[in-house]
Amino acid sequence: MSESVGVDNLIALDRVKDDSVLAASQVNSVRQNLCIQHVSKSFQSKNGSVYVLEDINLEIKQGEFVCLVGPSGCGKTTLMNIVAGLEKADSGEVWANGRKVNYAGPDRVVIFQEAALFPWLNVIKNVEFGLKLKGVSSRERRDIALEYLKMVHLTRFQNAHVHELSGGMKQRVAIARALAMNPEMLLMDEPFSALDAQTRWILHFELQNIWMKTKKTILFVTHNIREAVCLADRIFILSTSPGRIKKEFFVDLPRPRDDNDVSVAEYSTKIMKELKAEIDKVVKCEMDADSCVECDIKCTTVEPAKTDIGGGI
């Protein structure tokens, strides 16, 4: 870890220059855990196609903790779903762990905003769920489940029903459930955004500790910059409409980090400035949809050719 922590060692790379380099990069490199190449995605709406993601390129190394940050509606969850294999990209490819992503699979377990624990199973059975699917013997999967419940400090609640847990505890069980499968990477889709500040603060510590212990690759989606700085090695800022990777930041602060560290706050402020423009764009679109056409930035994601929204474009 670098000794001199501060705003100075914040490295921002201009993604636009980088794109060509990324495209030419090696796919089969062993250390490359995740490789997203030219991924685009649009949805059909009554006004025509809406581009959610446009030509996304990024690579994540084995054991890296990467955050995707962007304002709401920038397509970060969609990108996550494509990586998870829950949605298909219109074009482009995703390679994970040396294989092309076609389906959802247990090498890329997703942790959702809501814990998605199964109410018909108790806590430990929930953690065992993925192992049971894999065909692990009941004895062995109990041992593994207990090990990971211990890691999230919930062994005491192993026989509890899901509804008896608090929101933070549910997320910890979900993390244990994901880790129990020993996946190559964890995909976390705003997992802490529904929790209160204190719980989130605790979980930031816990997740950092787990990551340092297990060295899993983590792709973490959030709209909270402070959270991203607190957790990530690398942060990608996504722009809205269409979703593009706007900037990349390296965070080189000693761990475990605390949300309230001065250095974390300083980093966040710096990144916030980048994101400000994007947020303004969202605000402009959402607050006054009619004047949207007049925005100099193309906040309407509608393809101009297909719709008639006047002479603004």
Binding site: A84, G85, L86, Y103, A104, G105, P106, R108, V109, V110, F112, E114, A116, F118, P119, W120, L121, F129, G130, K132, L133, K134, H161, V162, H163, E164, R177, A178, M181, L187
Partner: protein, 252 residues
């Protein structure tokens, strides 16, 4: 406890009223027997095992018919709930058939299977299968998509997804369908047994009528009610309570 006491007092009062009406002698005994003679008939029925045999035969029929309808009903319900094509075809057939009282299947059943057990089992099956299928269908449609996505990322595919996620998640609705199916099946069984001479509880009812033995008729009716209540209390209420506890809908 207090509610049980109220119930007991109510039923004692009801039986007292019945005895009083009998003592007044307005109606002959073959129209209104005394509670005492009904009790005697019940006791005799259990002693010479005629009632027990009747219960056993009826229970065997419903166990087979209802068992098959659970399997078929859940299978069909899953198809309708998960696949558009089956919803548009099979689904409309089922909602149409549901308007048909089950006993209307009797003539067809007799022609297909003859005057035997299988005809009655078919009636029981038709009574329950539609309710179970529609219950399963609505259960499947109410499974939160998040559960399915979560299970998929953990590697659940094809039949494992159904067995480990969709069916358990739909279970509250499936149980409601099964409960409704049970009551339909029980009714169809009795209707079938009344009309086909083939032992069983319904048949005992008819024998009572033919012998002008009203106390036997009422005794058998009581047995039928008792079995209905027992199944509801011992089986369905327990399962429903268990599910509600699990899902956190009541305090455990």
């Amino acid at each position: 406890m207090y509610s049980i006491l109220k119930r007991v007092i109510f039923f004692v009062f009801l039986i007292g009223l019945w005895e009083l009406l009998f003592r007044l002698g307005i109606w002959p005994e073959y129209v209104l027997p005394s509670p005492v003679s009904v009790c005697k008939t019940l006791a005799r029925g259990f002693q010479d095992q005629s009632l027990l045999i009747g219960v056993a035969i009826s229970m065997k029929r419903i166990a087979i018919g209802y068992g098959i309808s659970i399997g078929m009903g859940i299978f069909v319900g899953l198809l309708i709930g998960r696949f558009r094509i089956f919803e548009e075809t099979l689904g409309s057939l089922i909602s149409g058939l549901q308007t048909l009282p089950t006993i209307c299947w009797l003539p067809l059943s007799l022609l297909w299977f003859g005057l035997n057990d299988r005809a009655i089992i078919f009636l029981v099956f038709m009574g329950a299968v539609l309710s179970i299928a529609t219950g399963t269908d609505s259960g499947v449609k109410n499974v939160p998509p998040l559960y399915i996505r979560a299970a998929k990322t953990m590697g659940a595919k094809k039949w494992k997804l159904y067995l480990e996620v969709i069916i358990p998640a739909a279970l509250p609705h499936i149980i409601i369908g099964m409960k409704q199916g049970w009551s339909f099946a029980w009714r169809s069984l009795m209707a079938g047994e009344l009309l086909i001479v083939c032992l069983g509880l319904g048949h005992l009812l008819m024998i009572g009528r033919e012998l002008n033995d009203m106390s036997q008729v009422i005794a058998v009716m009581l047995v039928i009610i008792m079995i209905g209540i027992l199944v509801d209390r011992l089986f369905f209420m327990k399962i429903e309570r268990h599910i509600r506890e699990r899902w956190g809908l009541i305090k455990g």
